[in-house]
């Protein structure tokens, strides 16, 4: 599965199922799915601007860093780009390991880095809302845990 940047809907359930089949035998599979919140202040959809080529490379660099840093066997990162409707998954990250702590930490680490180091630009659009989103202070704090 590896790294995928998708303009089409991301099927997180199918990705998780496939990852379990292929890599579950290592013993520990941690996963994270981020969904566009439907209840949050009038946002109808996200638009994720991306830079073809550079965006994929930035995501791959994050996955490679996780594999180098943690005792894990395999990772998957599926990330949407383009228009993502409220209620749809925007990101799916998984890691397989023989050790549950390594699997947890790898997924946690990749999510932190994706928030601020993947070449993506998030715009929230909805009823009276149209704004580019910048990483929040808590994202920077969360990222700093790994440095």
């Amino acid at each position: 599965m590896g790294i995928l940047l998708l303009e089409q809907p991301l099927n997180a359930a199918a990705a998780h199922a496939e990852f379990l089949v292929e890599h579950g035998h290592h013993g520990a599979v941690a996963a994270f799915t981020g969904v566009v919140r439907s209840e949050s202040g009038g946002v109808d959809y996200l638009y994720l601007d991306w830079y073809p080529g550079m965006t994929e490379a930035s995501i791959r660099a994050i996955a490679d860093a996780a594999k180098a840093r943690f005792d894990i066997r395999e990772v998957a990162v599926l990330h949407r780009c383009g228009r993502v409707e409220a209620g749809e998954p925007v990101v799916f990250v998984a890691a397989a390991s023989e050790h549950r702590r390594a699997a947890f930490e790898a997924v946690d680490y990749m999510m932190d880095r994706l928030k601020s180091e993947a070449a993506l630009w998030k715009r929230e659009v909805g009823d009276g809302v149209d704004r580019w989103v910048e990483p929040r202070g808590e994202d920077a704090v969360s990222l700093k845990r790994w440095s």
Partner: protein, 73 residues
């Protein structure tokens, strides 16, 4: 003068009022100033898909991009 492709992403596409332009340019920071003036603190840049943080000379066929801070995940 080098002929370069210039791409704009995120908020900087709105600020520049463009997604893509072909420009004649000599140096990266001069090119950036031509689109964003002196107010460039929030403008990130890349040359040939590698993020860069300092000035450099541009060559024919270079692909330059200007963009706002990343926000994925």
């Amino acid at each position: 003068m080098a002929k370069v492709e210039v791409l704009f992403f995120g908020r900087m596409a709105d600020v520049a009022g463009a997604r893509r332009k072909t420009c004649d340019a000599v140096r990266l920071l001069t090119l950036r100033e031509s689109f964003f003036g002196a107010d460039v603190a929030a403008v990130r840049m890349s040359v040939n898909q590698v993020q860069v943080f300092a000035d450099q000379a541009l060559n024919d066929g270079d692909e330059v991009a200007f963009f706002s801070v990343f926000s994925g995940g």
